[in-house]
Amino acid sequence: MPAAMLQTPHEADRLFAGVYAGKKARLCLATTTSGSPNLSSNTAAWDAVERSGSGYARCEWTIPAGSFNTTTDRFEAGTYNCTFTASGSALTWNAAYLVIGTISGSTVTWGTGVSFVLTKSPSISLAAGLSRIYTVQLFTDGFTVTA
């Protein structure tokens, strides 16, 4: 049975700084069909089934530097609330996906693959005028080495 080395706060910090801090994130809603696209699909495939109309708009934000939380033992950014509001007609989706992008000047280059996926079954349907909030928290704590 291999032993797991303990990840240090330094490492959680280094990882977070390298892959999340200062980068752009966007949370999007989509409708998948028969499990497609899936976890291995690229961003283009997900964007092709992204919702449109009914008041839908992507939620975008810049990820802050974050800090180590000694209670949760992880390096984390504060939570970010993504609010989606239906207008005109119902807004329906069965998946949310998150993409990370790199900022250069005023240009964002989104990752060619999506970073996280959240599927919903049954689909969520918001009547016009209603809102749904996803509270997103990015953190690093799970890298492991076995020795």
Binding site: L27, S40, L98, S115, T144, T146
Partner: protein, 149 residues
């Protein structure tokens, strides 16, 4: 109860490429009297690193790795890190292994991170007699980043 979004293979690869692939790693042995912990700096750990009696840090360059669909993580093959107490010495004795990641610069110069990445405490101490070897099989992988929504 927050729902955890599922980490994609792409993300594990992005994390590994940014954090480990092509970087230098070193596994070191030390005697910690209890003063040091995971939050201690590399300089503090290096100050209690073993010396003499055949001890030498084990260093290697982390390869680029690949996604393993069976383990659902991005990983590199395990690296065998061998330590050996010299035949004519007094043996080796340690209670901690620690791993440091470094960046390779121009001319091959390595800049080690100011904080250690991983720590493995051993209890009781591991004692090697003169001429005796001991190895650690180190497997670096990425699979644990999560986002809650």
């Amino acid at each position: 109860m927050p729902a955890a979004m599922i980490l994609t293979p792409f993300e594990t690869g992005r994390l590994f490429a940014n954090s480990y692939a092509g970087k230098k790693a070193r596994l070191c042995l030390a005697v910690n009297t209890g003063a040091l912990g995971p939050a201690s700096t590399t300089a503090q750990w290096d100050a209690v690193e073993l010396a003499g009696n055949g001890y030498a840090r084990y260093e290697w360059t982390v390869p680029s790795g690949s996604y393993n669909s069976a383990t659902e993580r991005f990983e590199v093959p395990a690296q065998l890190c061998e330590f050996s107490a010299s035949s004519g010495g007094a043996g080796l004795n340690w209670n901690t292994a620690y791993l440091v990641i470094g960046t390779i610069g121009g001319g091959g110069a390595v800049t080690w991170n100011t904080g250690v990445s991983f720590v493995l405490p051993e209890s009781p101490n591991i004692v090697l007699s003169p001429g005796e070897p001991r190895s650690y099989n180190v497997l670096l992988f990425t699979d644990g980043f999560l986002v809650t929504a």
